[in-house]
Symmetry: none
Subunit: 218 residues, 4 copies
DNA sequence: GATGAATGAGCCTTCATTCAT
DNA sequence: AATGAATGAAGGCTCATTCAT
């Protein structure tokens, strides 16, 4: 009766909720989590501040949702690029997949530094910190899969993947995202090349000639 | 007389300023930059909030000064451990010095996570971000010196030290300070060993047997 | 047909309205008027917040209706216990009826403190305050009837029943409902006995031996 | 140096704090605790809202202070009227002192109903509720002292003073403060007379001829 | 120079009420 | 008649900054 809801309505709810998260995503990408106040997010979504509370119980939940969306997109892109979790991935040598991972991650990070920094480093809500853990674990698992594939295929000798994988994730985050040294900015290409090679060494692969993009680089 | 007076005054100014920065350092080490409000710093220094503005034009400047002090101490300790900038450093192989750097840095970071996290990651004032750049450059230069010493002594083949050095710094920061994966926490010793080895590889050194503490570890 | 429809509609209206008030009653009994927000009441009644405004012009009116219902039930129970307004009441001595009133009131209040407190004391809407007046008048009239019956039967000498009756009501409310003095809590039985006796004196009856429950205690 | 504080300053602090509490007192007396918001109190004290937090840690503390002041004045007045805690009190018969208590309490309550109601009944902050307990205990102790003096002097036979005393306090509060029955308002004098007599009976004193004011009635 | 009280903008959150559907 | 999303005015609280003394 009236409203014929649960279809149109539910869709609307999702759209609104999505709009709020999208607005938050934009703000975080531009200015970091510190700028993502309830009022600002609501305003950018074209909605009043009170309305936010129809969709999220509190700021922590909104922040977490924003983080989830932003980080999820990043992680999915990287995973797609290396065939994470697929059978098909084994058709490509592990070393080449690590190379792809570094390049996809790096290219995106260099393009959107504020966002990358917010996702990886910015101190924020408890909600964000909780999600961050999940997100980092996701990256670490992705790297770990590649490394253990490498071990299995014989191209890599390594123990303590539990320490090596996060170290690689860390090196990536740090090297790509942190504002690099002032002075003549290196061209992105050179940065990518060097760090891809460094990660190969870090992982323990033998020297590697980058193959040109053989996979989807997102 | 006038001069004298000015001198005394100047000394007093310095002492006060120093007391404020020291108080801030303590607070940041205990609770991060988020807790270092003007009122709290002034209070811990035994001074009124208004007085802070006699010594620093605004909060940004105070935060920057606090950062400088805290980060400076860390950097100096690491540099002392590897003989940065001294003639004497050349008596020790580069690879061994890199090992020392990793271990000193890591040991301090693991001991004082809040401070380390604040210095490396915590979102903060513009002032802090600016200083952070300087600080990271300091580390990078320290690593770079070791690497180029290695090249000179023939133990290392590497170009693009400008990219390699920050990658090493980044890997260190990330791997030591971020909350590691949930699950069984590795013992600090194992962490240090593994990361030291990984950094050797990252740098491009051949495999290395850690030598027992041959240098001052601060 | 038209009439029928109207009747059905009217019945429906009443049912809805009643459901809202009942929901409010529950909430007030559990958590007081402060918890009886429009949204909460509507939700518990299985109705949307907007719908409330179809039945009540504003929150004040809803609160008043809730109060009316809750207080009405209490008052009716007490009145039934003392035969208020019936011919039959005169078969029981006034003093014994006052005893019954005190015990019924007290027992219910001790059992449901939150509700009792909400009805008697909780600061609330203008609407509630207005109804509270009616409610208290109801109690006062009940006591007054007993007292004047007592005068008529010769067991009591009193003028100014208009002042005596509310004083008795007040003593009841206060003594039973307010958190009693800290320290060893008296057992409910003792409290009931003592206050029943005190009310006898307050009313002006001679000493009275409580008779065992001679009336319906609801 | 500068400010020569701790004398002038401390005095000023006290004055301001006092001004805030006084402003709160006024508001509560006029409109109850519900109206005593931080902003409103600050405004009436001629101060900004933020300033309140210089003097009170949070709203609970401010409310408690307001309550303390208002209730303290009332209690002190009543106690002075009955010689509470003094040796001199024993010169006056207990029954007469109870009479004085009722009249002083009642007269003040009838003069300032909103305040009395706020102090005795209004649901409010945790801070207020906590203080209210103390305040009620104060009244109860005052009544209890009179009653036990009466027992000692032989004019009264009573056990369970622990229940009788609060019942008297309750009766007073209720009968004087609650809006009495609508209709022709009784003259205050008659109300006082009747309730004073009722309280004598409630306490268990024999009939008593009111003596004309023999004590300070505040 | 030092003080520290005062300020006021800004943050998160709640809730009675309205209105297009 | 019913819906329930949206509103916007409060409310409590924090903190960098100013200024009379």
């Amino acid at each position: 009766m009236a409203y014929r809801s649960t279809e149109r309505t539910e869709q609307h709810r999702l759209a609104r909720s999505e709009a709020l998260v999208a607005a938050g995503h934009e703000i975080v990408a531009e200015q970091g989590f510190g700028a993502a106040t309830i009022a600002r997010v609501a305003d950018r979504a074209g909605v009043s501040a009170g309305t936010v509370y129809t969709y999220f119980p509190d700021k922590t939940a909104l922040s977490a949702a924003i983080f989830d969306r932003a980080a999820g997109i990043e992680l999915d892109t990287v995973r797609a690029a290396v065939g994470y979790g697929t059978e098909a991935r084994l058709a490509t040598p592990a070393q080449q997949r690590l190379d792809a991972l570094v390049r996809v991650f790096g290219a995106r990070a260099l393009r959107g530094r504020t966002l990358a920094s917010a996702l990886l480093f910015e101190a924020a809500d408890v909600g964000v910190e909780r999600e961050r853990l999940v997100f980092r674990r996701g990256y670490t698992e992705t790297v770990a899969e590649i490394l253990s594939d490498g071990v299995r295929e014989g191209s890599l000798v390594a123990d303590r993947l539990d320490l090596l994988a996060p170290a690689i994730v860390g090196a990536l985050g740090e090297a790509f995202i942190r504002p690099l040294m002032p002075g003549p900015a290196s061209e992105p290409e050179a940065v990518l090349d060097t760090l891809a090679a460094a990660c190969q060494r870090l992982a323990g692969f033998a020297t590697f000639e980058p193959p040109g993009a053989g996979m989807n680089l997102g």
